[in-house]
Symmetry: C2
Subunit: 408 residues, 2 copies
């Protein structure tokens, strides 16, 4: 499984150079061909030819001449064409389904969340409902003259990404489900092959594109829901580990003498900072079957208690924050991220939990690095993973536009 070096042909060269130019256009738009030649190092001839190809594919648009007052012939500005190609992001989660259409300019063109208790439904029916959602999204895109180039599905569980299967999704009760096959069977064929990824990873990527500015290229994104997971992003790419199980923050042991966890360990983070553990410690009645989000959910009840200064709730959240900080300290020592982004329930609990998180984090990450990493809170909503999924499609087009070229 060592890093393979693949042969490069003329076509490969062309494909990569298209990506170089498209990337530079996206970074600097509107921008002239001459400037592109400058920054890429290509000759003007080459840039013209590459831009022409991108224009043919509908990925790039000519904005007309710009008279900037400088002397010399005015440039014709080029920019990314957001009105032709889009990506579709889909998400299956415990208590909702989500879809999202994102155009090449990273504007959200369609966004739809449906509450649905997926815990007691068969996989086929869940995917069926998701397919319907996807069809609606594709139709909505079509009405805006957008072509959906590809789709990515976010799933809460461990996946066999190559085989397109869900291995296990404990919170859904799934085991070995051919999710991708079920989905693509119900959809019109897309230019790019569909893909699936873990919900935590995609939520993390969502943060990259829609969250706290594009500067956080290496970070850990905590997506605390029923479980506590983390998406690790390094230089803009998801870090998966050898088998795709990296980022299992929830099962880092905090207290070796703590309560037994379903994973077999003792005192896992999830047993202290998981949603159900927090609610229990805060004295909020157990509500396993019904939806946990929403204004009437137990999370809202917890926040209300916190607002009222309820001591039991405050101490439960503090305890959770401390445990999270401890686990994150281990993550920082091992992964050295730039930033830590708290999402999921920790985003809502931040005002009360963060002091404890920061204190524990600072205690556990010593003088080795000059300062503990930045701690931020996600501003993304519940469908962060769907956003990230759609953004991944867009990203794929941007890094390999040749896939959408007319004769390919």
């Amino acid at each position: 499984m060592r890093n393979e070096i693949t042969p490069v042909r003329h076509g490969t060269m062309r494909a990569r150079n298209l990506a170089v130019v498209l990337g530079e256009i996206s970074r600097r738009q509107p921008v002239s061909r001459a400037r592109l030649a400058d920054v890429t190092g290509f000759t003007k001839t080459t840039v013209s030819s590459l831009v022409a190809a991108l224009k043919d594919a509908g990925l790039v648009r000519e904005d007309g001449p710009v008279r900037d007052g400088e002397r010399g012939r005015p440039a014709t500005a080029v920019s990314v064409n957001g009105d032709r190609v889009a990506g579709l992001g889909l998400e299956v989660n415990v208590d909702y389904l989500a879809a999202c259409v994102l155009d090449l300019g990273r504007r959200i063109r369609h966004r739809h969340i449906v509450a649905a208790d997926n815990r007691c439904r068969e996989p086929e029916r869940v995917i069926g409902a998701l397919t319907a959602l996807a069809e609606t999204a594709i139709a909505a895109a079509g009405e805006q003259d957008l072509t959906v180039a590809g789709a990515v599905v976010a799933l809460p569980g461990t996946l066999d990404r190559a085989g397109g299967r869900v291995r296990t999704a404990p919170n859904l009760g799934w085991r070995d489900v051919a999710a991708e096959e079920l989905l693509t069977a119900g959809l019109p064929p897309l230019a790019l092959p569909s893909d699936q990824d873990n919900e935590a990873n995609l939520a993390a990527l969502g943060e990259l594109w829609f969250g706290d500015g594009p500067d956080l290229g290496s970070y850990v994104h905590v997506s605390g829901e029923i479980g506590v997971g983390a998406g690790i992003v390094v230089d803009g790419r998801v870090f998966r580990g050898a088998h795709g199980f990296a980022g299992e923050l929830g099962h880092v042991v905090i207290d070796p003498d703590g309560p037994l966890c379903a994973c077999g360990g003792r005192g896992c983070l999830e047993q202290i900072a998981g949603q159900e553990a927090i609610l229990r410690a805060a004295g909020i009645p157990d509500v396993t079957a019904t939806s946990t989000a929403g204004p009437d959910g137990p999370l809202a009840a917890l926040v209300a208690l916190l607002r009222d200064g309820d001591e039991r709730a405050l101490s439960a959240v503090r305890r959770a924050g401390e445990a999270l900080g401890q686990a994150l300290a281990a993550a920082v020592n091992l992964l050295d991220p730039d930033t830590i982004v708290l999402g999921g329930i920790f985003s809502a609990l931040a005002p009360w939990a963060n002091p404890a998180v920061e204190a524990a984090l600072a205690r556990g990450t010593g003088i080795v690095r000059s300062a503990p990493p930045r701690l931020t809170v996600s501003r993304l909503g519940g469908d962060a993973a769907a956003l990230g999924a759609a953004a991944l499609v867009v990203e794929r087009v941007m890094t390999d536009p040749a896939l959408l070229l007319p004769t390919a």
Copy 2:
């Protein structure tokens, strides 16, 4: 700092394809051009041309025709030429300096370790001594008709790799030392630019090339010495994190109520499983100033006690193993490696520590993954990092042979 895509020209294409062919030769040698065309997908023409270029550079050798009994014209086998180009690995550590010359065939051609207490010497003198060692090594290579293409230095501390400086090396007492400049000033110019890296990272790479078979592409290598560090290798490449501090296993908190650590934290792994902590707990007199390795060192004394079944020593090592296993469990949850390799002192202590390590590891890595990762013990000696450094030079030649082409 996002992942940049760089322009590809004909030269780039050629360079990568040279690497493809050289890699395939190294993997399958001896191998015919025809077979190379098969496995790479290149035409026979292209393979011939690439092989010719590699042969001109002295990186590849023709072995003459092989008559394999098959019918048809016999093939002329091609293989990596180990007799022309070599890499130089250098290592500065607390109590020794090491140098190592490795040829392209990954055979060790020269290996030299000098005991030296570098704790109380000025950086200039240490690097001076290292330069002398390097010169000897280059001369030794020359006598075997080998050209040293480049050098990599292993240093125990935090580095500014781009600037070629050591930021801090606590165990050496260094602060902001321009190590690379000092070294290259004293050496003849090499074809490849020199480089430096952390000792733990290079020791981990050493394991990849010389250790437990080439199948371990993703692993965590624990290099327990005075401190406890870990080198993280993913798909054959070192994982550094955002600032190069990844793998600080030694400061993962094991016991929040434990002893205070120099890093400011409490109950860091290093305070329980660091060499000095183990020796202290085992009741072996403190020996800070003198060399800790060697047959008369305290480590040997500890092993002797363990062999005699000394209860205090045994329990100290068990406790260290348990703590190490706990920290590794966190690492497994976060990084999902294939394998864990124990090096440094843990290699010597393995017979007594490993049961505890494995138990703690199994306890902390639950059902998420089917089984805890493989646990192996390094068979490499003290100069693992020097080996890894030399291997890194060789690796660099293999992944970009164009750097050594006549007209480049």
